[in-house]
C-alpha cells in the first residue's frame, strides 16, 4: 500500500502542530468558537450531541494491521473503547475530549493517517471498491488512481473552498461496489479496445435532500488525462456552482440546472486547455504509484479446496459463513473475506478496540497485512488463502464477528442518527437493531436472499437510504420519530433512487411494515432467483402499497 514520503510526513506533522496550537489558543480563550470552528472542522473535529466527534480518513478504505491497531489504541485510550466505521470508508470516534485531539492526531500521524479534509467544502476522502486488487471481475486496481486523486486534492489551493463538499469514488469492476453513480464524480476504470486503461466519467450524482443519479459525460478518458479532466470538472463547478443556497450548492444541482449536454461541453472546453499541461500524468508516475499497490505474492495453495470441503462437513456455521461472506478472488486458491460488523442486535459499523486488534492479528497472520473498510460498514480481508479460511473463521467466532449475513437483510447500513448526531431527526441504530432481531434467523434471511436495507436519521442520507432496496428515512413529526420507507433504490451499476411508498410509520410499527414488505415480495417473486430489487422493478410499488395500506384505505 501507499507509504508516506518525506514530504507527506512533514506535511501531516505540520498540520498536527498547527491544530495543537489552535486548540491551545482556543482553550486559553484567545480565539472564539466562531473563529475556531472552521479550523477544527478542517481537521475532522465536529461537535455532536454528547461530545466532540473525530472523523479519521481511511483513504480508499485501505488499512494495514499496524494502522488498525492504532485505531484500536485510540479507541481505548481516548474514547470509550469503540469506533464507528462509516459509509465513506472513514472511522469516527464519538467521545474524544478536545484537549486530547492533538495527541490523537500525533498517534495517527505515526501510522501515516490523519483527519484532514474529512469535513468542509473540499474534496473529501476518495472512496473505492473494497475488493480492489482482489476481485475476480476487476480490470485493474482502482486504488492507485484514488491515491493520485488524493495527492492532487489534498489542500488543493483552488479547490479548498468549493461551493460545497465534493466526493469522488472509483471502481475497477463492471460490478459497481463503490456506488459511483451517487458521487459528485464517479470513475469506472476500464480498458478500451486496444487494451489501454482509462475511465468512464460520471458527474453529478448524490443523495441527501435531492437525490440524483450521475450523468456519464465521458465514456473513455485515457488514464493520463485523469487530473486534467477532474480539474476541468472542478473548475466548471467552482465557477458556476451555487453559493447562494447550501441546499442547491452540490454539483448535482449544477448538472441538473445546466443540463448534462451543456455541462459536458463546458468541461470538455476547459479540458482542451488543460490536457497538455503539467496535469497530464506521465506513465512513469502512474506506474510508480501502482508499484505501491502491487498485489501480494500469492502462492498456489491447492490444498484449500479439500480443507474447505472437510471443514464445511464439520461445521454448519463455517459452511454458512463461507456461502455468505466469502467472495471469489482473482487467484483461485484465495478468497476475499467480509467481516460483518452487523451482528444481530449490534450497532452497524461499530467495532471495539479488542475486535480491531484481533482483526489486525488475523490480517497479519492470514491476510497479507491488509484490511479494507467497505462503504457498507463492514471490514474486509481481501486476500486470504482458502486453506486458511477456517482459521480466520475460528478467529472471528472468538471475537463475535462471524455473522454470516453479508448482503442479507440484516447486513444493514445505518448512520449514527439521533443517538449521536447533532443533525438527526430520528434514531437509526435502534431501528436497525430491531429489524435485525426480527429477521435473526439465518435460514429466513437466506430464503429472502440479497436485500439491501439502509437507514438514515435525516435527509442528509449518510445511511444511503435512497439507494437501499428498502430505504428508511427518519423524520420528526410533532416531536416524535416517524419513518418513511422507500423501495426500489440501488447503488450499483444499475443505480436507482428509491420511491416513497406511502405515509410513514412510528417506531413501534416500522419493523412490522418491513416484514410485510418482505412477505409480499416472497409471495410474489417468480422464484428464489428473483431478488427483491428485481421483483420490485417488475412489479412496481402497487402490491407493496396494497399490503401496507389497503386496510386503512378501506376503513377510510
Amino acid at each position: 500500500m501507499y507509504r508516506y514520503d518525506e514530504f507527506d510526513h512533514s506535511f501531516v506533522q505540520a498540520r498536527v502542530a498547527e491544530l495543537r496550537d489552535q486548540v491551545e489558543r482556543r482553550m486559553a480563550g484567545e480565539i472564539t468558537e466562531d473563529q475556531f470552528k472552521p479550523l477544527r472542522l478542517m481537521n475532522g473535529v465536529y461537535l455532536q450531541l454528547h461530545a466532540y466527534m473525530l472523523r479519521v480518513a481511511i483513504p480508499y478504505g485501505t488499512l494495514s494491521s499496524r494502522q488498525l491497531r492504532m485505531l484500536a489504541h485510540i479507541a481505548r485510550t481516548y474514547d470509550k473503547g469503540y469506533g464507528h466505521f462509516t459509509t465513506r470508508q472513514n472511522i469516527q470516534y464519538n467521545w474524544p475530549a478536545l484537549a486530547d485531539i492533538p495527541a490523537i492526531l500525533d498517534d495517527l500521524a505515526s501510522v501515516e493517517m490523519h483527519a484532514i479534509q474529512t469535513s468542509g467544502n473540499c474534496i473529501r476522502n476518495v472512496t473505492a471498491d473494497h475488493f480492489a486488487g482482489a476481485a475476480a471481475d476487476e480490470v485493474a486496481d482502482p486504488r492507485p488512481y484514488a491515491e493520485i486523486l488524493r495527492q492532487w486534492s489534498s489542500v488543493h489551493p483552488e479547490f479548498s473552498y468549493l461551493p460545497r463538499k465534493f466526493k469522488i469514488a472509483v471502481t475497477g469492476s463492471t460490478r459497481d461496489r463503490a456506488a459511483i453513480q451517487v458521487h459528485d464524480i464517479g470513475l469506472h476504470l476500464k480498458k478500451d479496445a486496444a487494451g489501454a486503461l482509462g475511465f468512464a466519467v460520471y458527474v453529478g450524482g448524490g443523495q441527501g435532500r435531492t437525490p440524483m443519479i450521475a450523468k456519464k459525460i465521458r465514456d473513455f478518458l485515457p488514464e493520463a488525462d485523469l487530473l486534467a479532466y477532474c480539474t476541468a470538472i472542478l473548475r466548471v463547478y467552482n465557477l458556476n456552482g451555487r453559493r447562494d443556497n447550501k441546499y442547491k450548492a452540490r454539483i448535482k444541482i449544477l448538472v441538473h440546472e445546466t443540463g448534462a449536454e451543456e455541462l459536458t461541453r463546458q468541461v470538455e472546453s476547459e479540458f482542451a486547455h488543460l490536457r497538455d499541461t503539467e496535469l497530464k500524468l506521465p506513465a512513469a508516475d502512474i506506474r510508480a504509484i501502482q508499484a505501491y499497490f502491487a498485489p501480494p505474492a500469492l502462492i498456489a495453495r491447492p490444498e484449500g479446496d479439500e480443507i474447505v470441503r472437510l471443514a464445511r462437513l464439520d461445521s454448519k456455521g463455517f459452511a454458512e459463513w463461507v456461502d455468505q461472506n466469502v467472495t471469489t478472488h482473482r487467484h483461485p486458491d484465495h478468497a476475499a473475506v467480509t467481516i460483518s460488523l452487523k451482528g444481530i442486535g449490534e450497532v452497524p459499523g461499530d467495532a471495539t478496540d479488542s475486535q480491531m486488534e484481533a482483526i489486525a492479528d488475523l490480517a497479519e497472520r492470514y491476510g497479507f497485512d491488509e484490511i479494507r473498510v467497505s462503504h457498507e460498514q463492514n471490514l474486509i480481508l481481501p486476500h486470504v488463502a482458502r486453506a486458511d479460511l477456517k482459521a480466520v473463521y475460528d478467529g472471528l467466532v472468538a471475537i463475535g464477528l462471524a455473522t454470516a449475513n453479508s448482503n442479507l437483510i440484516t447486513d444493514i447500513i445505518a448512520c449514527p442518527g439521533l443517538d449521536y448526531c447533532a443533525l438527526a431527526n430520528a434514531r437509526s441504530i435502534p431501528v436497525a437493531q430491531d429489524i435485525a432481531r426480527r429477521f435473526a434467523s439465518l435460514e429466513r434471511q437466506r430464503e429472502i436472499g440479497e436485500l439491501k436495507l439502509k437507514i438514515s436519521g435525516c435527509i442528509n442520507a449518510c445511511g444511503h437510504h435512497h439507494v437501499g432496496h428498502i430505504g428508511i428515512l427518519g423524520v420528526e413529526k410533532k416531536g416524535a420519530e416517524l419513518y418513511q420507507i422507500t423501495l426500489g433504490g440501488s447503488g450499483d451499476e444499475n443505480t436507482s433512487i428509491g420511491e416513497i411508498v406511502g405515509r410513514g410509520f412510528p417506531p413501534e410499527e416500522l419493523t412490522d411494515a418491513i416484514e410485510m414488505i418482505v412477505d409480499t415480495y416472497l409471495a410474489l417473486r417468480l422464484d428464489a432467483s428473483e431478488r427483491f430489487i428485481d421483483a420490485y422493478r417488475r412489479l412496481g410499488a402497487a402490491p407493496f402499497k396494497e399490503a401496507l395500506y389497503a386496510r386503512e384505505a378501506k376503513a377510510a
Binding site: 472564539t32 468558537e33 450531541l49 461530545a51 478536545l98 439521533l418 443517538d419 449521536y420
Partner: protein, 102 residues
C-alpha cells in the same frame, strides 16, 4: 418552561446551567425559566459563558416537569440528558447516581 444547555468547551460534555448558578453535568437541578424575564436572564448567562469560552452550542430548550423532575420536551434533548439509547453504559445514564425518569 425552559432550561439553558450547552456543551463544555474542553471536553464537549453536555451541561446545563444550574439553580446554584454554575454549569452542571446532570439536568435535574438545572435552573428553570418559567417566564420571559427569566428566559432572558438565562440567555444572557449563556452569552456570557460563550464569550468566556466555558461552553459552546448554547441553547435554551423546552422542558416539562414530570413527577417533579425536569424532562426535556424534544427527544433530542432527552437523549442528550441521558446518553445514546443504544449504549446504556455511555453518557449521563452510566453514572452511578443517574436516576432515569420513569
Amino acid at each position: 418552561m425552559k432550561v439553558l444547555t450547552a456543551n463544555r468547551l474542553i471536553d464537549g460534555e453536555v451541561v446545563w446551567y444550574g439553580a446554584a448558578e454554575a454549569w452542571i453535568e446532570t439536568i435535574d437541578t438545572a435552573r428553570l425559566a418559567r417566564d420571559k424575564a427569566s428566559e432572558e436572564a438565562l440567555q444572557n448567562v449563556g452569552k456570557a459563558a460563550l464569550a468566556a469560552n466555558l461552553v459552546v452550542d448554547v441553547e435554551l430548550i423546552d422542558v416539562e416537569l414530570v413527577g417533579g423532575r425536569i424532562v426535556p420536551t424534544r427527544l433530542r434533548e432527552r437523549i442528550r440528558a441521558a446518553g445514546p439509547t443504544n449504549h446504556l453504559h455511555h453518557g449521563k445514564q452510566a453514572r452511578p447516581d443517574f436516576v432515569p425518569v420513569a
